[in-house]
């Protein structure tokens, strides 16, 4: 039978990605680490608002804090997205196999006629 990944991770990742500000933050982080004030710069938002978005992204595991520097820059972590993509592959595979069985069944039915 098909094994599914933890849907907690899946829902959390989907939910974290549902907001345009958070997607823009992730987008910013693809070009490298950034401090919270650097991340906040392009947005007309208060720092607490930005921090809140960062917290959602951190809790979904999409953003991590670098330990190296004192200002603790944030960096992108793509692992949860990999999980989503694997889950989808499994789910698609599951249906493709089911349709294979339907195909065989239909062939058998028509041979018996």
């Amino acid at each position: 039978m098909v094994k599914y990944m933890s849907t907690d991770v899946l829902s959390k990742t989907f939910a974290a990605l549902a907001d345009p500000t958070r997607r823009a933050i992730l987008s910013r982080l693809t070009s490298g680490e950034a401090s919270v004030s650097e991340i906040a710069k392009p947005f007309s938002m208060t720092m607490p608002a930005i921090s809140k978005h960062l917290k959602v992204l951190e809790s979904a595991g999409l953003v991590a804090r670098s330990k190296s520097a004192q200002w603790r820059p944030r960096k992108l972590n793509a692992a949860p997205m990999k999980e989503i993509s694997e889950w989808l592959d499994q789910y698609r595979q599951h249906w493709e196999e089911r349709l294979d069985r339907l195909d065989l069944y239909l062939t058998k039915l028509q041979q018996n006629d």
Partner: protein, 156 residues
């Protein structure tokens, strides 16, 4: 061609069967048929209840040989157009936090039948927070194309 309302969270699977449309349709609607092909070879599918009507549902169990545990599933029909379309909701992997709507479209293609499956991940309240923005991480998107997309966005 089917219109896809939420491409960012829709999984599309197409298949052409060498069988008339009525037979392909019956294979999905008749318990006698569906129990025979639905589950993997080693797994027995047993229909407990089937009310093939909008609002009705198909309850079934999947039994593994030699196993006491059985996996019970309920698919709830949301739309039926005889011979053409069937839609239902189910919980992917049996997880109630993960509801999907499956839509089947049946079309003639010469002597064959084309089946289009649209599997839409239903947005929960949380996911709905920003419906207009849509969900970026699409069902059909791979990780690579996602990272590429993000990189492009930041380049602009």
């Amino acid at each position: 061609m089917a219109t896809i309302e939420h491409p960012e969270r829709t999984l599309v699977i197409e298949r052409v069967f060498d069988a008339p449309r009525t037979l392909v349709y019956d294979a999905w609607t008749d318990s006698e048929h569906i129990d025979k092909w639905w589950g993997p070879t080693m797994v027995t599918t047993r229909t407990i209840e089937r009310d093939f009507s909008v609002g009705g549902s198909w309850k079934y169990v999947m039994e593994m040989p030699g196993s006491v545990s059985e996996h019970s599933v309920e698919n709830k029909y949301t739309e039926i157009v005889p011979g053409e379309k069937i839609a239902w909701t189910e919980f992917a992997g049996g997880d109630t936090s993960n509801q999907v709507t499956v839509t089947l479209l049946f079309e003639d293609q010469g002597d064959e039948t084309k089946l289009t499956m649209l599997i839409v991940h239903d947005s929960t309240e949380q996911m709905n927070m920003n419906e207009q923005g849509g969900m970026l991480m699409g069902w059909t998107m791979t990780l690579d194309s996602f990272v590429e997309f993000l990189a492009k966005q930041s380049a602009n």
